[in-house]
C-alpha cells in the first residue's frame, strides 16, 4: 500500500448536490477529506474548461454533480 492520496475537485450544483453535501454533514456521515468542493449555481454553469483547469492544477479526479 502506498501513502498516495488522491486529490478530488468537485463542482456541485447549489440546488441539489451542494445541499446533499450539507445534509451528509447534518447526518454526520464520514468520508475522506480528499475532496474540495466548488459551489456552482447549476451544473448548467459547468464548463469543460473548469474540469481541465482542475486537472492541470494537480487534481487526480474531477466530480461534477447536479
Amino acid at each position: 500500500m502506498s501513502d498516495w492520496e488522491p486529490k478530488i475537485v468537485s463542482f456541485l450544483c447549489n440546488w441539489c448536490s451542494y445541499g446533499a453535501a450539507d445534509l451528509a454533514g447534518v447526518g454526520r456521515m464520514q468520508y475522506p477529506p480528499n475532496i474540495r468542493i466548488i459551489r456552482i449555481p447549476c451544473t448548467g454553469r459547468m464548463s469543460p474548461k473548469f474540469a481541465l483547469a482542475a486537472l492541470r492544477e494537480g487534481a487526480d479526479g474531477v466530480w461534477v454533480s447536479g
Binding site: D22, G25, Y31, P33, I40, C42
Partner: protein, 1308 residues
C-alpha cells in the same frame, strides 16, 4: 454536586449566598429540611450535613470568589457576628472593602462566644472569617462602641454607611428572688467566658433554666467541666422544647438530667452563696400566642433542688447601652432596632442594622440573610438608587414538582457519626464528626430531584454563548391585539398508564418519539440503530399502532391521530436503511391510514420493495424475558389466531392529545372544544374558533401532519389579515437605509471571519490556526474567529469592524451559505457594502462534521477552502438588483370552493382580484355535495359564499372563461382572459400573483357494472339524490358501498382521502332515512382520520356492516334476474359472502385535471398522478416553486371542504406576503451578455428554460442577444453554452471560478 464529588463546585454555589459554609454546615437548624419532599417518603435529605461535607472536603478559603472592581467608599460594620460578617462579605463582592469593629477580643459574635467548641470548633470559624478578611475586609477586635467610638464618630471619619450588627448578648433575668446571688450567672455570660478563656468555675451541682439550645449548650459544657450533677429545668414538656432533638438527646447521653414541667420560684441562699432552688411543678393549659400550650403552676407543688450553681438561659436581648442616643435610631416596643423590613435601613440616613439586634435572638442563617440584604441596600444607597425597587420578598406560587414515584423505596437518612460518649468528658472535641465521602454520596443519592433543576449552575459554566439566565423571572405584559391565533400544539400520548405494553417496566419498549431520537444523528446513539437495554443492534422491531388513539376503552382518545401510520412506515423504512444487516421491521395495525399526498406510494414501496411487514392484528400482551430483555408479544391476527412472536425492540406509535393546560387555556379564552378536546371549528370556517377574532391552527385544530399544519397556519394568518387589513403596516418599522459605499476600483481589503460554531467546528478544526493562516493571504486586512459568527452581537461587531477597518470584501468560513448567506449579506449592507462583495465557505457541514476523525486533514481542508474563498472574493464586484413594482392585483384560476375562498380572502384583505372559472357557474365539485361531517348543509353554505363573491366590489368574476396567455414574472404578470359567452371576448389583465385552484374531477369507473344499472351509482350521484331528497331512498332495504374504486390501484397508486368518510357519512344518512336498512361497506382500510373516526364508530354502533376485501380479491358485482348481487370474501371467515343490494354506491377516485397548458404557462410541475407539485411538501404546500404563483384545493391533492377552504385562504395568505410589498428585488447573480462579443447564434435563447435571453430589437446592438435580468434565474446554462464567451454570470463568472480552481493547489 456532592453526589458527583464536585465539592469545589458545590461550595461555589453555596458561597454565592453564604460566606460561612462550614459553620452553617454544623450549627444551622436546617429548616430547609422540613420542606424536603423526601419527608413524604421517609426522612428529609440531610441537606445541612451534605453542605458541611462539601466544606470538609474542600477548603472554602481556596474558593475563587469573584469580586467587582474595588470602590473607594468606606463602610463601617459594628459587630463581627454572622450579620456583620455576611454584610462585609457581600459588600466585598460588590467592591466595597469594609471595616468591622468588634467589641470582644475575638471575632465571630455569637458563633464565637455563644456556641461551644464541641459543636463548632474554633478552627472552622477562624478559617471562614479568614476567607472574608482575605477579600480585603479589615477586622478590628477590642473595638467596642462607647465613649471612644460612637456611630457619629464613624460618620465623621468618612464612613459613608454604617451597619449595626451588635447581636443580642445580654441574658434575660428570671425575675425571681435571689437572682443576684453569687453562683447565679446568665447562660450567655457563662458561654462567653468558656469560649473566650476556655475555663470557668462550674461548681458541683448545676441547674440550668430554659429549654433552648443555649440551655443545652450550657448543660453540655457543664458536664465537660466535670460538674457532678447537671440538671435542666424546663417549664413545659419535651415536646415543646425549642432545642433540637439531637442536641437534647446528646445532652441526655452525656448525663444531663432534664426536669420538665417545672419553674424556678426562688434562689435559696446560704452565706451569700447559692444553696438551692425552689421550684414549682407546672401543667399545660390553653395555647398561648406562639401556639404552644401555656404552662400553669400546679398549686402546692413546690419543691427544692439542691444546687450550688444556677444558670438561667431563657433568652437574650440587645445591650443597647452604646447606641441608645444615636440620632434618628429608633427602637421597637420589644427593644429591637426599627428598620425597613426589605432594605434593613434604619430611620437614620446611611445607617443600617440587622441580625439578632433587629429580630431578637434568632438563628445564624437569618442574620446572614439580613447581612446580605443590607449589603445590597448599602450599595444602592451609595449609588443613589432606589433601595427597595424589585426586592419584594420571594414568594413561589404553586411550585411545580416532579411527582414522587409511587414505588419509591424507603431509605432512611445516613446516620451522622459521633464521638463516642466516653471520649467526650473533659474535652471540647467536636462531637458530630461529619460524613465520610461514601456516606455523603449515598445521602445525596436520596434526593428525589423533585424540583427538576437542582441549580448546580454547571450549565451556565458550560454554555459558551452565555445563553442561560437562571434568575430570569416571568414577566406579565399586556399587548393590545386585534386578533389571536392559537397554535399551542399537542402532547404525545404517554403510554405508561397501559400495563399491557410494559412501557414503564421494559427497557426495550419505547415510544415512537423516542424511536425518532434513536434514528437521529443527534440522538442518544448518534444515529446508530441500537436498543436501550444493552445498546445492541435489534434484529427484529415491532411497531404497534393506535397507542392512545382510536381507543375508548383504555383511554378517552376515540379519535384517530392521523399521523401515526405514516410516521411508523417512515421509521420502519429509515430503520432498515440504518441497519447494515437484515432487519425485520413489522408494523402491527388495524387500518393502514396513508391518506396524504404520495403517502400510499410510500406505503407500497415500504411493503413491496423495502420488505416492511404489515400485520393486521390486535395486540394482547407483551412480556419481557428478564435475562435477555427480549420481548414476547402475544397478538391475534385478522382470523383470530393467537400468535406469540419475539422481538428485540417494540415501538409504541403514540397518538396526539391535547394536554390539560391547553384545555385550560381554551376555557380561559372561552373557546369551545370538540369531543376530543380540539378547538371546535366549522368546515366553512376551518380556522375560526367559536370566538370571533380568535383563530386556530396546527394540531389544536385537530390531529394533523406538518403540511396540513402549515396550510392551517397560513390560513389563520389570512383570517386574521381579513379582519385587520385596515391596520396593515401601521405597526411596522422602516429599516434605515445605509448608503452604499462605492468600492469600484479600490484595492481589495478583505476581512475573514472564521466561526467556531461553539464546538461544532472548533471541536475538530484548529480555528485559530485557520484564522492565522487566513491573515497570510493576499489582500486580507483583518481576521478574527468567533464563537458563533451568526449571533446578533457578532453581527453588530462585524458591522463595526467592516466600517473601522475599511473592509471592502468579506469571507465567512462557517456553516452553509444555503442557510446563512442572506444573514451575512445583510450585515454587509448594514456596514454600507454591496451584499455581493461576500463569499461564504463551508467548513462545518463539509469539513468538521464529516471528517471528525482526522482533525489535521480537516484543518488543512478548511485552510484550502478559506484560500479559495479569499481568492474568489477579491474578484467580486458590486452587483445591482433590479427593483420591480408589484401590481397589487391577484388572479385566481378556478371558481370551486378553494378558489372562491382564496379570492374572497384576497378581496377581504383589500386586493383587487380576478376570479376566472371555466364553467358557467361558481361552486365546482362542492355543488354535488350534500353535507359535511358535522352535518352542515353544503349547498346553503356554498350559496352564501357565492353570494359574497358576487357582491364583492373587489372581485372581477369571469365565468365561462379561461386564460390563453401568460407573460411576465412575479409582481408583473399579464394574461389574456378569453370568455365564451355568446361571442368570444378577450380581456388583457395585469396582475402581481396567481393562485391556481383548478380542482379535480370524479373518476368514472368501468368496473362493478357501473353504467349498466341505475342502482349502481357513484358517491356524488348518491349526494345528488340526497340533495333532491329522493323519496326512493326510503324504500331501499339493502345498500352497499364499495370503497377505493379507482384509488389505490396500480395505475392510480394514491388514496383519494375523502371517500371513506364520505361513504360512512352517506351510510349514516341512509340509516337516518330508513333505520331498518341493511348497509354493507366493502373496504380495504377505513381511513376516517382525525375526529372523523367518531363517524366510523357511530356507523358500527348503528349496525352498518364493514367487510374488508383485498386488492387481489375484489368484490364481484352481478345482475341476475333483476337482482343486484355482490360477492365478497369475508376477511374473518375466509368464505365467500353474497349480498343482495338495492343500491350500490361506488366510492370513486378523485382525479386531477392535468392541465399541461396551464402548467406550461406558469412553469409549474405536476407529479406522476397529475397533481401540481408544491414548492415544498412540508413547508410550502400552498405555493409553487415559481415565484408569485400559489396553489390550493384539489389541484394539489384530493381533500374535503374544510381543508380546501383552509388551503384557499393559505394561498391568499402566502400571496399577500408579496402583494403587500410595493416592490420586489430580483437577484443580482444573473447573466449578462457582452453584445460586442455576441455572434447572435441564438443558442442561449434556445436553451434558457426561463425565456430570459432575447435578441435586441433596435439600437446599435440590434440582433445581438440580451438577457432580461428579471427572468434570469442565474443558472449559468447560457454562459456555458455561449461559444463566443459573450455571456458572464455575475457572482459566478469564469475568472471567479478559475480563481478558486487555481487556488486549489497552492502549497499551504
Amino acid at each position: 454536586m456532592v453526589k458527583q464529588g464536585k465539592y469545589e463546585a458545590a461550595l461555589k454555589i453555596i458561597m454565592k449566598d453564604l460566606p460561612l459554609p462550614g459553620v452553617l454546615g454544623r450549627i444551622c437548624p436546617h429548616e430547609c429540611e422540613d420542606a424536603c419532599r423526601r419527608c413524604d417518603v421517609d426522612e428529609p435529605v440531610a441537606i445541612r450535613n451534605l453542605k458541611r461535607l462539601a466544606a470538609d472536603q474542600f477548603d472554602p478559603r481556596k474558593i475563587d470568589i469573584q469580586c467587582a472592581p474595588a470602590r473607594d467608599e468606606k463602610v463601617a460594620i459594628i459587630g463581627s457576628g454572622p450579620a456583620g460578617l455576611s454584610s462585609a462579605y457581600h459588600l466585598a463582592r460588590k467592591g466595597i472593602k469594609s471595616t468591622i469593629y468588634e467589641a470582644l477580643p475575638e471575632a465571630g459574635g455569637m458563633l464565637r462566644v455563644g456556641i461551644p467548641d464541641h459543636r463548632l470548633p474554633r478552627q472552622i470559624l477562624d478559617n471562614e472569617i479568614e476567607l472574608i478578611t482575605n477579600l480585603g475586609v479589615e477586622l478590628r477586635t477590642n473595638s467596642p462602641l462607647g465613649p471612644d467610638l460612637s456611630v457619629e464618630d464613624l460618620f465623621n471619619q468618612g464612613y459613608k454607611a454604617v451597619y449595626l450588627g451588635l447581636g443580642a448578648h445580654k441574658g434575660i433575668n428570671l425575675g425571681i428572688p435571689g437572682e443576684e446571688t453569687t453562683g447565679v450567672r446568665q447562660g450567655v455570660d457563662f458561654l462567653r467566658e468558656v469560649n473566650l478563656t476556655g475555663k470557668t468555675d462550674i461548681g458541683r451541682k448545676v441547674a440550668i433554666i430554659g429549654g433552648g439550645n443555649v440551655a443545652i449548650d450550657v448543660a453540655r459544657c457543664a458536664v465537660r467541666f466535670g460538674a457532678d450533677e447537671v440538671q435542666i429545668i424546663y417549664r413545659r414538656t419535651r415536646k415543646e422544647m425549642p432545642a433540637w432533638e439531637e442536641e437534647i438527646q446528646a445532652a441526655e447521653d452525656e448525663g444531663v438530667k432534664i426536669a420538665y414541667l417545672a419553674a424556678p420560684q426562688e434562689v435559696l441562699v446560704k452565706k451569700g452563696l447559692v444553696c438551692g432552688l425552689k421550684c414549682i411543678k407546672m401543667e399545660l393549659g390553653e395555647p398561648d400566642a406562639s401556639g404552644r400550650r401555656r404552662p400553669v403552676p400546679v398549686k402546692n407543688s413546690e419543691y427544692v433542688v439542691d444546687i450550688d450553681q444556677l444558670i438561667p438561659a431563657i433568652g437574650q436581648r440587645l445591650d443597647d447601652s452604646t447606641i441608645k442616643n444615636v440620632t434618628d435610631l429608633n427602637f421597637t416596643k420589644w427593644g429591637t432596632i426599627q428598620v425597613d423590613p426589605i432594605t434593613f435601613a434604619t430611620d437614620r440616613d446611611g445607617l443600617f442594622a440587622g441580625g439578632d439586634m433587629q429580630t431578637g435572638p434568632s438563628v445564624a442563617i437569618a442574620a446572614i440573610a439580613a447581612g446580605r440584604e443590607a449589603a445590597e441596600s448599602i450599595i444602592r444607597y451609595l449609588d443613589g438608587q432606589d433601595m427597595s425597587a424589585g426586592r419584594a420578598p420571594l414568594t413561589i406560587e404553586n411550585p411545580v414538582y416532579k411527582a414522587i414515584p409511587e414505588n419509591q423505596s424507603v431509605n432512611p437518612r445516613k446516620h451522622m457519626p459521633e464521638l463516642a460518649i466516653e471520649k467526650r468528658a473533659g474535652n471540647f472535641d467536636e462531637v458530630e464528626l461529619g460524613y465520610d465521602e461514601e456516606s455523603g454520596k449515598a445521602e445525596a443519592e436520596r434526593c428525589l430531584n423533585c424540583g427538576y433543576c437542582s441549580e448546580c449552575f454547571q450549565c451556565v459554566d458550560v454554555c459558551l454563548a452565555d445563553a442561560i439566565i437562571h434568575d430570569d423571572k416571568p414577566l406579565d405584559k399586556e399587548i393590545e391585539v386585534g386578533s389571536i391565533i392559537l397554535s399551542p400544539g399537542f402532547k404525545p400520548f404517554d403510554p405508561s398508564k397501559f400495563d399491557i405494553y410494559g412501557y414503564s417496566n421494559f427497557d426495550n419498549v419505547i415510544t415512537s418519539m423516542e424511536m425518532e431520537r434513536i434514528l437521529s444523528a443527534t440522538g442518544p446513539y448518534q444515529g446508530h440503530l441500537l436498543r436501550p437495554s444493552d445498546r445492541k443492534e435489534p434484529k427484529k422491531i415491532a411497531w404497534l399502532q393506535c397507542i392512545g388513539s382510536r381507543d375508548n376503552n383504555r383511554c378517552d382518545n376515540g379519535y384517530c391521530s392521523s399521523v401515526c401510520c405514516m410516521y411508523a412506515v417512515k421509521e420502519a423504512v429509515i430503520a432498515k436503511e440504518h441497519a447494515d444487516y437484515e432487519l425485520d421491521a413489522a408494523i402491527f395495525f388495524m387500518d393502514m391510514r396513508t391518506f396524504g399526498k404520495d403517502f400510499e406510494r410510500y406505503y407500497d414501496n415500504a411493503r413491496e420493495k423495502e420488505g416492511v411487514r404489515f400485520v393486521r392484528s390486535r395486540i394482547h400482551t407483551i412480556e419481557e424475558d428478564p435475562a435477555t430483555k427480549n420481548l414476547s408479544m402475544r397478538y391475534s391476527d385478522e382470523k383470530g389466531n393467537i400468535i406469540i412472536e419475539q422481538f428485540d425492540l417494540v415501538v409504541l406509535s403514540v397518538g396526539l392529545e391535547i394536554p390539560p393546560e391547553i384545555s385550560e387555556l381554551a376555557a380561559n379564552l372561552e373557546i369551545e372544544l370538540t369531543q376530543g378536546n380540539f378547538s371546535k371549528t366549522s368546515a366553512f370556517e376551518p380556522v375560526s374558533t367559536s370566538r370571533d377574532g380568535v383563530f386556530v391552527c396546527g394540531a389544536f385544530q385537530g390531529p394533523k401532519d406538518i403540511p396540513q399544519s402549515v396550510v392551517d397556519a397560513s390560513a389563520a394568518a389570512a383570517a386574521a389579515g381579513e379582519i385587520l387589513s385596515a391596520s396593515r403596516n401601521t405597526l411596522t418599522k422602516v429599516r434605515e437605509k445605509i448608503p452604499e459605499i462605492n468600492v469600484t476600483g479600490d484595492r481589495p481589503r478583505i476581512g475573514v471571519f472564521v466561526c467556531k460554531c461553539g464546538i461544532n467546528i472548533a471541536g475538530v478544526i484548529d480555528v485559530p490556526g485557520v484564522r492565522d493562516y487566513a491573515a497570510t493571504l493576499p489582500y486580507v486586512e483583518y481576521v478574527d474567529d468567533n464563537l458563533y459568527t451568526c449571533s446578533q452581537d457578532t453581527q453588530d461587531e462585524m458591522t463595526e469592524i467592516i466600517k473601522t477597518k475599511n473592509l471592502n470584501r468579506v469571507v465567512v468560513a462557517a456553516c452553509t451559505p444555503k442557510t446563512h448567506e442572506p444573514l451575512f449579506q445583510e450585515t454587509l449592507v448594514n456596514a454600507g457594502l454591496n451584499k455581493y462583495l461576500f463569499e461564504m465557505t463551508n467548513i462545518r457541514n463539509q469539513a468538521s462534521w464529516v471528517h471528525k476523525n482526522c482533525p489535521e486533514l480537516a484543518t488543512q481542508k478548511a485552510k484550502d477552502l478559506v484560500r479559495m474563498a479569499v481568492t474568489k472574493v477579491a474578484l467580486m464586484e458590486p452587483l445591482e438588483e433590479a427593483e420591480l413594482q408589484v401590481t397589487h392585483t391577484a388572479l385566481v384560476l378556478g371558481g370551486g370552493i378553494a378558489g372562491m375562498s382564496s379570492a374572497k380572502s384576497l378581496a377581504d384583505q383589500g386586493y383587487e382580484t380576478h376570479l376566472v372559472e371555466q364553467s358557467s357557474q361558481l361552486g365546482g365539485q362542492a355543488l354535488n355535495l350534500y353535507k359535511t361531517i358535522n352535518e352542515e348543509n353544503v349547498q346553503e353554505n356554498l350559496l352564501a359564499l357565492i353570494d359574497e363573491i358576487n357582491k364583492s366590489d373587489k372581485i372581477n368574476l369571469h365565468l365561462n372563461s379561461t386564460i390563453t396567455e401568460v407573460e411576465g414574472f412575479v409582481g408583473n404578470f399579464k394574461s389574456t382572459i378569453t370568455t365564451k359567452a355568446g361571442d368570444e371576448q378577450t380581456q388583457v389583465i395585469d396582475y402581481g400573483i396567481a393562485v391556481l385552484a383548478t380542482g379535480a374531477v370524479p373518476f368514472l369507473p368501468q368496473e362493478y357494472n357501473y353504467g349498466n344499472d341505475p342502482r349502481i351509482i357513484t358517491s356524488l350521484e348518491l349526494d345528488k339524490k340526497f340533495i333532491a331528497d329522493d323519496p326512493s331512498l326510503k324504500e331501499i332495504n339493502s345498500a352497499a358501498f364499495i370503497q377505493c374504486v379507482g384509488s389505490r390501484e396500480p395505475d392510480r397508486p394514491y388514496c383519494s382521502r375523502v371517500c371513506c368518510t364520505h361513504s360512512i357519512s352517506n351510510a349514516l344518512e341512509l340509516k337516518k332515512r330508513n333505520p331498518d336498512m341493511n348497509i354493507y361497506i366493502l373496504y380495504r382500510d377505513i381511513r376516517t382520520y382525525g375526529e372523523r373516526e367518531y363517524l366510523y364508530k357511530e356507523a358500527r354502533e348503528r349496525g352498518i356492516i364493514f367487510i374488508r376485501y383485498s386488492l387481489d380479491n375484489k368484490p364481484e358485482v352481478s345482475i341476475k334476474d333483476g337482482k343486484l348481487m355482490l360477492k365478497v370474501i369475508d376477511h374473518v371467515l375466509d368464505l365467500p359472502l353474497l349480498i343482495e343490494a338495492d343500491l350500490l354506491t361506488l366510492a370513486t377516485a378523485i382525479i386531477p385535471n392535468k392541465d399541461e397548458v396551464l402548467a406550461n404557462f406558469f412553469k409549474v410541475a405536476m407529479n406522476e398522478d397529475g397533481f401540481f407539485i408544491e414548492r415544498h411538501v412540508k413547508l410550502g404546500p400552498s405555493e409553487f416553486a415559481t415565484d408569485g404563483v400559489f396553489l390550493c384545493g384539489m389541484a394539489h391533492y384530493p381533500k374535503p371542504i374544510d381543508e380546501a377552504i383552509a388551503q384557499g385562504k393559505a394561498a391568499a395568505s402566502r400571496a399577500v406576503t408579496l402583494l403587500s410589498k410595493e416592490t420586489v428585488n430580483t437577484s443580482g447573480t444573473v447573466a449578462k451578455t457582452d453584445p460586442s462579443m455576441c455572434s447572435a447564434c441564438g443558442v442561449c435563447i434556445a436553451i434558457c428554460p426561463y425565456s430570459a435571453p432575447l435578441f435586441t430589437e433596435a439600437g446599435p446592438f440590434a440582433g445581438k442577444a440580451e438577457i432580461n435580468p428579471v427572468l434570469c434565474k442565474g443558472c449559468g446554462l447560457c454562459v456555458a453554452s455561449c461559444r463566443s464567451g459573450a455571456i458572464h454570470l455575475k457572482g459566478f463568472d469564469n475568472d471567479q471560478i478559475f480563481a478558486q480552481i487555481f487556488a486549489l493547489n497552492e502549497a499551504a
